[in-house]
């Protein structure tokens, strides 16, 4: 892969990664949020695969495809099943209003940029320069986790953070060992499965997954 093409595709993947992460905050429709998460999975897989192609590293490329498959197909599939199991499909009243959270995201972006400057200065390559994007998505994921009420959108927030950590790992280094990445991916898969079981049980017990209404103990 030639250098300008590599930089352009890498930038494009990073841009899509950032855009989908931010748009999760914008949409209220849970089905649309899951779609955005799937798109972000594609962007993450592409990011890793592009780096693999550039380094001529077959293992990294295959890993990119695997990560893309897990995060763009399998996890969204599981979440869609949880959604289809009869939950109302909207994030009705987030703790922070959507317009305000979009503006908070602007601030988070600046923070991520400021914080990651020392990291970038260590080894300024096109890949490390995109680290602020991974950090931004990490902060956005955390923000979603804190401010959303529905169990499903909190799962998406958690997975956004995980996506961002993976992206940061692959942007700063030429790759995590395959075993570690497999372990992390399995962890995430298990977490989603557990959460799916949990939301089903929550719905059976309380009739909804609005976590704020679970402060008191029920009989």
């Amino acid at each position: 892969m030639t250098d300008p093409l590599y930089v352009q595709t890498l930038d494009l993947a990073c841009g899509a990664f950032l855009l989908t992460g931010v748009l999760v905050l914008w949409r209220r429709d849970l089905a649309a949020i899951i779609w955005l998460f799937a798109l972000q999975g594609v962007a993450l897989g592409a990011l890793i695969a592009v780096r693999g192609l550039h380094e001529a590293d077959v293992e990294l490329t295959v890993l990119g495809l695997g990560v893309g498959l897990l995060r763009a197909v399998l996890l969204p599939y599981l979440m869609r099943r949880a959604l289809a199991a009869g939950e109302e499909g909207r994030e009705a009243r987030p703790h922070v209003s959507v317009a305000a959270s979009l503006l908070v995201t602007a601030v988070l972006t600046m923070i991520a940029y400021a914080v990651s400057q020392p990291l970038v200065r260590l080894a300024p390559t096109p890949a490390t320069q995109a680290v602020p994007i991974a950090l931004t998505v990490l902060l956005v994921g955390f923000f979603v986790l804190v401010t959303r009420r529905r169990a499903l959108s909190q799962v998406v927030g958690f997975l956004l953070m995980d996506n961002a950590i993976t992206a940061a790992a692959f942007l700063t280094t030429t790759g995590v060992p395959l075993v570690v990445e497999l372990g992390v991916s399995l962890d995430v898969l298990l977490a989603v499965l557990a959460l799916q079981v949990l939301t089903t049980r929550m719905r059976a017990a309380f009739g909804g997954t609005d976590l704020d209404e679970l402060r008191e103990l029920h009989d």
């Binding site: 494009l12 317009a99 979009l102 994007i133």
Partner: protein, 308 residues
């Protein structure tokens, strides 16, 4: 540049007519024809100029001011040719300020009537404007970082000479932001519905409710030109093909005019077709949409630093 002004001035009502025609056809109506807005304008101009009781000079000054600022913007923005005699004076900031001046003039004119509708429309217009203007500035600013100048003509020429640079996150983010803002600024669905007069949700129509005759014609014509200029600016920034440069011959100019007409008609057609399938957003959701587009523009600026 005179050519560009003429094209915009004559073509703007045709664009509006084309969009209405497309909507009508998609909704299964015959439509009034592409030249209907011109016929409307002619009818309005022949009528007697009349102003409501109790309105002052602000009310009468607003329509010429709106049309005047729009004409200056149409002359300064690279639509047909990137070479403008206003270069060096009219950069991105001046253009955004002129657009804002026109909107503010119209809002003041709406307030001056003292009717409920005028005040409501003006306050809503200001709400939208407060988010639209910074977004325009930021989105075009993101594009200007690559070029190193805020001169719109220079940005367009630089993009035309290296079209591959369009496929970057900066351009994509800026394009999304600018698209939303273009829709908001020109008062189309989902931000405003240009064809309603009875709902409480109208923005632009509420402000001009008290205008009649030649004044109304001037406003309608200026709004059509604003739409054309915004669509043309969008097309020029993200698809700068066929735009004539300084010292271009008559054939190049002709090609540029045709390319401009095709691009704007295409964008207008897509916009009109999209409107058929979309409902108007609730007024309280509009700031959300605009905050989103502002964030896109900000991310575009940020990304041009991240991914430099």
């Amino acid at each position: 540049m005179v050519l560009q002004l003429l094209v915009v001035a004559a073509g703007a009502p045709l664009l509006v007519g084309l969009m209405r025609q497309i909507r009508a056809r998609l909704e299964g109506r015959a439509g009034a024809g592409v030249r209907q807005p011109w016929r409307d304008l002619r009818k309005l101009v022949r009528k007697e100029a009349i102003a409501p009781h109790g309105t002052g000079w602000l009310f009468r000054a607003a329509p010429p001011l709106l049309a005047g600022t729009t004409l200056v913007v149409a002359a300064a923005v690279p639509l047909v040719t990137a070479d403008s005699p206003l270069d060096g004076v009219a950069d991105l900031f001046a253009v955004a300020a002129l657009l804002a001046l026109g909107s503010v003039a119209l809002a003041l004119g709406g307030l001056d009537t003292g009717t409920a509708f005028g005040g409501m429309g003006a306050s809503r217009e200001m709400t939208v404007l407060a988010l639209v203007e910074p977004t325009i500035l930021l989105a075009v600013f993101a594009l200007s970082i690559r070029v190193g100048t805020t001169d719109l003509g220079a940005i367009v020429i630089a993009t035309a000479s290296s079209p591959l640079s369009l496929i970057s996150p900066v351009s994509l983010l800026a394009a999304v932001a600018l698209a939303v803002v273009t829709i908001a600024e020109s008062g189309r669905i989902p931000v405003d519905n240009p064809s309603t007069h009875l709902e409480l949700t109208m923005i632009h129509e509420a402000m001009i409710l008290e205008y009649a005759g030649p004044d109304l014609a001037l406003i309608e014509w200026a709004s059509a030109m604003r739409l054309t200029v915004m669509l043309g600016l969008f097309a020029g920034l993200f698809a700068p093909f066929g735009i004539a440069t300084a010292g271009a011959g008559p054939i190049a100019l002709l090609v540029a005019v045709v390319a401009f007409a095709v691009k704007v008609a295409l964008l207008g057609g897509v916009l009109a077709a999209g409107e058929v399938f979309m409902a108007k957003l609730r007024l309280f959701r509009i700031p959300e949409l605009l905050a989103g587009s502002f964030l896109m523009a900000l991310l575009a600026v940020a990304a041009s630093f991240f991914l430099a």
